[in-house]
Amino acid sequence: MNHRISVVFLILLFCIPLASQTGTKKKRPLPYDYGRVVISNYSESSGQPPVVFQHWIHRSMFTCRVCHVDIGFGMKANSTNIRAVDVQRGFYCGACHNGHTEVNGKKVFAACTAKPSFDEQKRCERCHSMGRKVQSDFDFFTFSAPLPKERFGNGIDWEKSEEMGLIKPAKVLEGFTIPKNQLVVQKDFDLNPKVEGMPDIIFSHKKHTVWNGCELCHPDIFMGVKKGNSHYTMVDISEGKSCGACHVNVAFPLTDCQRCHSKPVGEN
């Protein structure tokens, strides 16, 4: 009898901590996995593993706008419904991954062909890499070593990296980007949080438009026309709404509070 009780006790001892881990607790991604997007619209139905897209390497080469406005990638995983034929026609990933586009003086490898041969299959695996061990041309640690550091996200201060000239994200992709005149930058403004003692948010239009332009955010992400009429909550933001469209998975994360809540309390 005593033996049975001790077995039950031991089972409970192991199960209670395990059960407590199954709540809403989210594991923080590792720096090289922050911004990772798994795309699987049609991959699996065509016998390929899902595509694993790494934001860190792509954002070091292009501004957000090039991909999310000029090429037309959606802001949520799988929202674009990319088909292999779209890529083969030179759209979406095929805008660069076509075997002839050069980025930073290097030819970008081509995406899959319609019926890849055995040799070409290796090329497909470079993107269709979910669950596969694929050797990339870029090593995150070698890439990030010279860049200024941040505490969260990829552990890289992307803004400072560009200021220092260590990365030069292109604003133009030939054939996709429409030549535009100089951007008319709107004023920065403060947003007052409801929590007493919490520093105000200083929202910089300049910082956001330099990589995003205007139409990436307005009106799809921020639809409020008049300042003060839209109410944002941290719950909504953490669910990917408003600021959370970028600041949950790709741009510096919400855990880096002071980056947005940056106005000293009591300062006018």
Binding site: G72, F91, I178, K180, L183, V184, E215, L216, D220, K226
Partner: protein
């Protein structure tokens, strides 16, 4: 005899005309298609190249831009599937911004009156 010969010549001419017409059509069609393709893209590039100046436009200018976007949509709807998907999203973003700024300016004007 002459009348018979003339009739035969006329039939032959009609037959030749029938043969030549599709060929002539085939010669002009790709060019016409290319011109139509270039025309929608030119209009798209022209309309959507102004998004970064949206805030500096007047209500009238923004209204025209929204109308031009609306006029482009049916032309984009006729494109092949991939292009239609890409450019519909791009047009949606571009039109959305103009409509958003337009609404904001109309509100400002209204508030100015009150």
């Amino acid at each position: 005899m002459n009348a018979r010969l003339l009739r035969q010549l006329a039939v032959f001419a009609l037959f030749c005309a029938g043969l030549c017409a599709p060929a002539a059509h085939a010669q002009t069609t790709p060019g016409t298609h290319a011109a139509a393709a270039a025309a929608w893209r030119k209009e798209f590039d022209d309309v959507c190249s102004r998004t970064e100046q949206a805030m500096s436009f007047s209500i009238e200018q923004l209204t025209v831009l929204v109308e031009r976007c609306d006029a482009l949509q049916p032309r984009i709807d006729r494109l092949e599937e991939t292009q239609r998907k890409v450019y519909s999203v791009r047009l949606h973003q571009c039109r959305g911004l103009y409509a958003y700024v337009l609404e904001s300016k109309k509100n400002e004007k209204q508030e100015g009156k009150n």
